[in-house]
């Protein structure tokens, strides 16, 4: 039987340890994790991003439940350990489970420190440590206006910024003379304060809170000097203390934290501890890098690999608040007797200070421009002599300073991702041995860049150095951004962005005006998110949608008028023939979707041709609801069971001129012979005697995909209802340029079916669709025909003769 390894604590330190063990020897242990919260392991550091609407809770889950299953890990969740019997090697949980162990690891983390003052138990007083705390803060922000954050440290400031973005009026109360006083010197602390004040946060420095006021719920605070402040919410963020109560009861040696040696061993045999709950060499840590370093040492110990003794961690800090870049590492507190090099640029708000002892870096404070942080940090870690380096270079030409590029020159042991303790060597090995080709993949495998994200440019540099052209775009919607569609959409809603320019600016796209990939995508997303507020941006439309005609390879265009359901009549045919002759149209052809196309039309002829045709656009050029292909149906066909053509016409009338993430093709067949090939349509209908089968997600293009049966309905009205609901759900969740086939695959057919099977949801979706398209659902040709100005600006060509005027 395998040895039983039991972990108390389902947090970042413990789970990271398990990952390290699995990497070394996956068969060694039967592993049980005992946790208090009701979530799988998540990245606690990212909670401030959730609060700042930059990420969702799902996105910060680092190990979903499936990870536990796949690795055969028993998870006892929402049932904290309450007793350890070290003599008999048994852990008892709150619900009474008895879990025997051979090896036991404490990874119990820490508790947020709550000020021992009157009123600290009132409603509306919260800490900021868990998903539940975050949810409570977000809920309070929805109901209340004013918030106070006690503690102007890293976490307190991130909480304050988050609450402000949730719409609250936020004051930060801080005991010290400047913010983040353990990580910043006074000048950097003041720079930070003034930047945050410019963003709208308020500060009360050198204020000691003595009482929390209010009856049931907090209404205000009283300070030592007798003054008070009104508030509806208090977030305590003044520090943490190791969660070591259980360890103490179990007989472990505990000072501030659980005392461990260089191999993470406690004073009792077979019991180890890592993370924020431990005290090593008199020090406790509250940052991730040390936890991960400790995890590696303990994983070696537990798998019988000769471990390098843990020798304490040098840590660094950076703040996750937009517009306030700072970096702090090493010793910046006890600096008496240290030399320092500092440079302050009051013009651009940049400040750098490096503390020096014996010609080596002891501490680093950077504010504003922080890209040198990792470089200094590595110099400090290695104890590199700085004697032959230039100390200050003011106003040197851009590009001359050593920037992030020099990561290429680093040694393999140097740390690139300080949060997760990932060295350059780890990343290079991942690229070479595991074939990683973008930042997201490197993050997934090595964890580099997945916490604060500041090292992503360096990871990118390494990728480019190793692979050159082989680097692929990461998950971002284009090379302008790392954000994927969902993240962009979340931000558009959260920040209420209504123009592309705002999106590019607020979300810091690399190109200030986007690129050919993201411009049409962002325009589409804005149309979906804020259909009435966002003004469609013609200059962001792809040429076909801007011109309302399909550009051909020689620069001419095609004209395809709408013939609903594929039905036409002699008048229309005469009209088309007349126009084709009059304008010398080189090609007239029946299209793949049963329409008639005029090909090779000159740009300047487009508006007049549309006018003379007097028909509307089939939008055969657009990412939109396209033509409905139909068979002739029961009125003529011997096999037809329903009026497929009539239903096709109704569908077109109801949904034409609606934009979708990619083209949306529809077919209606009157019998299962399916002459219109409903099985490869985005929305395909096959009629039979008593009703209609609805198929979705089919594709007859580059990747042929058979549509799947969604449901069977009895009436045409229901078909139309399902079609509208699907259209809107696709619009709301689709990635721009993603056909329904990959969309259904990405969301899961059952998930899509679940939504569409719900009558109330269908109703909501159709309502949303109608609101969104009420203003914009128009025939684009008529708009151009009626607008001389646009004709002149968009469709005319100036012809000049070359007249040489000699001298």
């Amino acid at each position: 039987m395998k040895e039983q390894l039991v972990l108390i604590g389902n947090g970042m330190a413990g789970v990271r340890l398990v990952e390290e063990i699995l990497e070394r020897d996956p068969e060694r242990y039967a592993i049980t994790i005992i946790g208090k919260e009701c979530y799988p392991n998540y990245n606690r550091i990212m909670l401030s991003n959730v609060l700042q609407n930059k990420m969702t809770v799902d996105e910060i889950i680092t190990n979903p439940y499936t990870w536990y299953e796949e690795n055969n890990i028993t998870l006892i969740n929402e049932d904290p350990a309450v007793g350890v019997d070290a003599a008999h090697k048994i852990v008892t949980s709150e619900k009474g489970l008895k879990v025997p162990y051979d090896k036991l690891v404490f990874a119990t983390g820490s508790h947020p420190f709550i000020l021992p003052i009157p009123g600290s138990q009132k409603d509306g007083v919260v800490a900021f440590r868990t998903i539940d705390d975050t949810a409570e803060m977000m809920e309070a922000a929805g109901k209340h206006k004013k918030a106070v954050v006690i503690g102007g440290g890293l976490l307190g400031l991130e909480a304050a910024k988050g609450l402000q973005l949730q719409g609250m009026d936020v004051t930060v109360v801080h005991l010290a003379k400047w913010l983040m006083e353990t990580q910043l010197d006074e000048r950097a602390g003041k720079m930070l304060q003034s930047d945050l004040e410019a963003q709208g946060l308020k500060f009360l420095l050198e204020h000691a809170t003595t009482e929390i006021l209010g009856d049931e719920r907090v209404t205000g605070l009283r300070f030592k000097d007798g003054s008070t402040i009104e508030t509806d919410l208090v977030v305590m963020s003044i520090g943490i203390r190791p969660a070591a109560e259980l360890a103490r009861e179990a007989g472990l040696e505990v000072n501030r934290g659980i005392v461990v040696n260089d191999f993470m061993e406690t004073n009792l045999p077979a019991i180890y501890a890592i993370g924020e709950c431990v005290e090593h060499d008199g020090k406790t840590y509250g940052l991730v890098a040390p936890l991960f370093e400790q995890g590696k040492v303990l994983a070696d110990v537990l798998t019988g690999i000769e471990a390098k003794p843990y020798q304490g961690s040098k840590t660094f800090t950076s703040l996750k608040v937009s517009g306030c870049d700072l970096y702090s590492a090493g010793n910046i507190m006890d600096t008496d007797g240290l030399q320092s090099i500092e440079a302050y640029d009051g013009v651009n708000g940049n400040y750098k200070k490096v503390f020096i002892k014996d010609n080596r870096i002891e501490g680093i404070v950077l504010y504003g421009e922080t890209s040198d942080g990792n470089r200094y940090y590595n110099m400090m870690k290695k104890g590199q002599e700085i004697a032959d380096l230039q100390s200050i270079a003011i106003l040197q030409a851009a590009g001359e300073e050593a920037g992030s590029d020099d990561v290429v020159a680093w040694d393999d042991e140097e740390t690139v991702c300080g949060c997760n303790g990932v060295t350059k060597g780890d990343i290079i090995r991942g690229i070479r041995e595991k074939g990683l080709t973008n930042v997201a993949e490197v993050g997934k495998v090595t964890k580099a860049g997945t916490s604060c994200g500041k090292c992503k440019p360096q990871v990118q540099t390494l990728l480019e150095h190793e692979l050159g052209e082989g680097v692929t775009a990461s998950t971002g919607i284009c090379s302008c951004t790392d954000l994927n569609r969902d993240q962009v959409m979340t931000q558009i809603y959260a920040k209420h962005l209504t123009t592309s320019a705002d999106v590019f600016k607020e979300l810091k796209f690399a190109n200030a005006e986007g690129c050919a990939k993201c411009r049409p995508a962002v325009n589409f997303y804005l149309n979906v998110a804020f259909p009435t507020e966002h003004k469609d941006e013609r200059q962001s439309r792809y040429v076909n949608e801007r011109m309302h005609a399909n550009i051909q390879k020689d620069g001419t265009f095609s004209v395809i008028p709408r013939m609903r359901g594929g039905q036409t009549n002699p008048q229309q045919l005469l009209q088309i023939a007349k126009v084709a002759e009059k304008y010398n149209v080189p090609l007239v052809k029946v299209t793949g979707s049963q329409r008639i196309g005029l090909y090779g039309v000159k740009k300047q002829d487009l508006p007049t041709i549309w006018k003379e045709l007097d028909m509307v656009s089939a939008q055969a050029y657009a990412k939109a609801f396209r033509s409905v292909k139909t068979c002739v149906g029961k009125n003529f066909c011997r096999f037809g069971t329903q009026d497929s053509m009539g239903l096709g016409i109704k569908l077109e009338e109801r949904f034409e001129f609606i934009d979708t993430p990619h083209k949306f093709k529809v077919g209606v067949s009157a019998c299962p012979r399916s002459c219109v090939e409903s099985g490869v349509k985005d929305f395909g209908i096959i009629c039979f005697e008593n009703g209609y089968q609805i198929y979705i997600g089919g594709n007859g293009g580059t990747e042929v995909k058979e549509a799947q049966l969604l449901t069977t309905v009895e009436t045409e009205e229901e078909v139309i209802e399902y079609c509208g609901a699907l259209l809107q759900y696709y619009r709301e969740t689709g990635i721009y340029a993603e056909r329904t086939a990959p969309w259904v695959e990405r969301l899961g057919f059952e998930a899509v079916k679940h939504i569409l099977s719900d009558a109330a949801k269908r109703k909501d979706l159709i309502e949303a669709l109608d609101v969104a398209t009420a203003v914009k659902r128009k025939d684009p040709w008529h708009e151009v025909v009626g607008d001389r100005d646009i004709q002149e600006k968009l469709y005319s060509i100036d012809r000049r003769e070359l007249v040489t005027v000699g001298d």
């Binding site: 050919a516 411009r519 200059q539 740009k603 040489t804 001298d807």
Partner: protein
């Protein structure tokens, strides 16, 4: 005396959308950038053999419509990793009119 050929009026341009002007057999694409500057480039991409007029404008660059090549509207260079250059033309703006400067054609 230098040659000066009238091309079109500034008011006929839509920001970030190309306007076609032909001079004899030569085709030019005029663009007004988002900062107001007006540029002229030959309407022929040496890599695709097709027009560039209908591309997407971002800052000083044009993404050509067939293959997304990124072309500088200032010096006509096709950006890395692709190579090539299109002819750009110096313009003269006077009283709301756009003229081609010099005898470049």
């Amino acid at each position: 005396m230098t040659n000066k050929i009238f091309l079109t009026k500034i008011e006929t341009l839509l920001p970030q959308i190309g306007r076609s002007v032909s001079i004899g057999s030569k085709k030019l694409a005029l663009f007004q950038l988002s900062d107001g500057r007006i540029t002229a480039i030959e309407d022929f991409c040496p890599l695709t053999g097709g027009p560039v007029l209908e591309g997407t404008v971002s800052g000083e660059y044009l993404y050509e419509p067939l293959r997304d090549y990124k072309i500088s509207l200032i010096d006509g260079r096709i950006q890395e990793p692709d190579e090539g250059q299109l002819q750009v033309y110096e313009l003269l703006l006077e009283d709301g009119n756009i003229y081609l400067q010099g005898a470049a054609i």
